[in-house]
Amino acid sequence: MKRILFVEDESAIQKTLGESLRNKGYEVQAAMDGEVGLRLAKSEKPDLILLDLILPKLHGLDLLEEIRKDKETKNIPVIILTNLENIGEVEKALTLGATTYLVKANYSLEEVVAKVKKAMGDK
């Protein structure tokens, strides 16, 4: 079973998107803040990370930078899932090696699940 690390501080989003992904057969591990997210990314080495940007304790972009610095985690695909759409954040995330940058408000739940499946190479 493919594993996803979902770093998101909104419990409602954790519940809806997390459950949708579990229903599609993925194992979803939740992290409610940036520090826990980074720790789990390093210890669990998931197949994909879904990452919010505004997070308690550690900003999503700093977390992404840390993941990319580490030899063991640098190749994990990361999907940024946020409501921030300033060009500065988008550019920085893509420069740091984010696979995709998704603005939550612009996508339905189904569309986000489809993007995750595509990033995992599943149909």
């Binding site: 409602a12 809806t16 229903n23 939550k104 739940l109 189904e110």
Partner: protein
């Protein structure tokens, strides 16, 4: 660019920007133009009379140049202020959009999940969780819009800020009665012990009510299982001092300097999922600043917070 006659009405233009006349670029340009014309005439007259005394001519030129420089400086400054106000407004709209998007996404996704094929076979109790998400995020959006409207109305002076003298202890009792079901739902006992023979406060009754609702609401929301809140009221010199003490989560030291800023929420409040818009204390400070009031607090993580404000008394 369309030109309308109303554009030449300087006073109307300045009123539109909602800034005082002496900060309004159009008005200042007109003053500068008039000053240049008048000073040219005066300079001509003085030049005619003191033509044989170049020192006098030089002195007048220097004085005119200084006055023109001062006016030019004020004009530049007023343009900077307008540009800054514009930048802040754009930033404010960006933040508000982001703040509204979060609950809106939660609402949409919870609804989409409830309607999804996979979810149809789920049991009733699981469904209720998603209805709770919808209800909670609807309330969150409503709270945010209410707070934003309060701020806009306060800034435009559209809320009743007329001061009158009233007994603050009566207003506190009134708010406490209104909040009784809220206290009971959170299993919190609120103890109110005002000093005796307090003088009347002199402030806006409806605005101070908003202050009390916010401070009392915060004390309950951030109590996190603590069972007691104390409210005190005393008179010190010519001020009446309100105090509210909770025994909840407290505010981390590094967050304390930001708590009166717009949309700021302490890290531990976000972490423990206490709902809030990040606008309550900003509104409280805005109101108290406008009433010549003062607000201060002390707080310790895990021990709780004490918020105080003072108001002028009726002389």
């Amino acid at each position: 660019m369309d030109f309308k006659l109303s554009q030449f009405n300087i006073f109307a233009q300045c009123r539109k920007y909602k800034i005082p006349l002496w900060q309004c670029p159009q008005f200042l340009f007109t003053v500068m133009g008039l000053f240049i014309m008048i000073s040219s005439i005066v300079f001509y007259a003085i030049g005619e009379r003191y033509i044989f005394d170049p020192r006098m001519v030089a002195l007048v030129v220097i004085l005119v140049a200084i006055i023109l420089l001062i006016i030019a400086f004020i004009i530049t400054h007023s343009f900077e202020n307008l540009a800054e106000a514009n930048r802040m407004k754009t930033e404010f709209v960006n933040i508000v959009s982001h703040q509204l998007r979060a609950p809106l996404t939660n609402l949409r996704w919870a609804t989409q999940f409830l309607l999804s094929k996979e979810f149809q076979d789920s049991d009733q109790s699981e469904k209720l969780d998603y209805f709770d998400i919808i209800k909670e995020n609807g309330n969150r959006m409503e709270g945010l819009i209410d707070d934003l409207l309060t701020i806009t109305r306060l800034k435009e002076g559209k809320l009743d800020s007329k001061r009158s003298s009233f007994a603050l202890e009566d207003l506190i009792e009134e708010v406490m009665n209104e909040y009784k079901p809220f206290f009971e739902a959170n299993n919190i006992k609120v103890d109110f012990s005002p000093a005796k023979d307090l003088p009347k406060s002199f402030a806006s009754y409806p605005l101070i009510r908003i202050v009390l609702e916010n401070l009392i609401g915060n004390a309950v929301n951030y109590s996190q299982g603590a069972k007691k809140i104390d409210i005190g009221l005393k008179c010190q010199k010519d001020r009446i001092i309100f105090t509210i003490k909770d025994r909840g989560m407290g505010i981390p030291q590094e967050d304390q300097k930001y708590i009166f800023e717009k949309f700021f929420r302490a890290k531990n409040a976000v972490r423990t999922e206490v709902l809030g818009t990040g606008l309550g204390l900003f509104i409280v400070k805005l109101i108290l600043d406008g009433m010549n009031g003062k607000i201060w607090f002390s707080s310790k993580v895990g021990k709780g917070s004490v918020f105080n404000f003072s108001l002028a008394i009726k002389n």
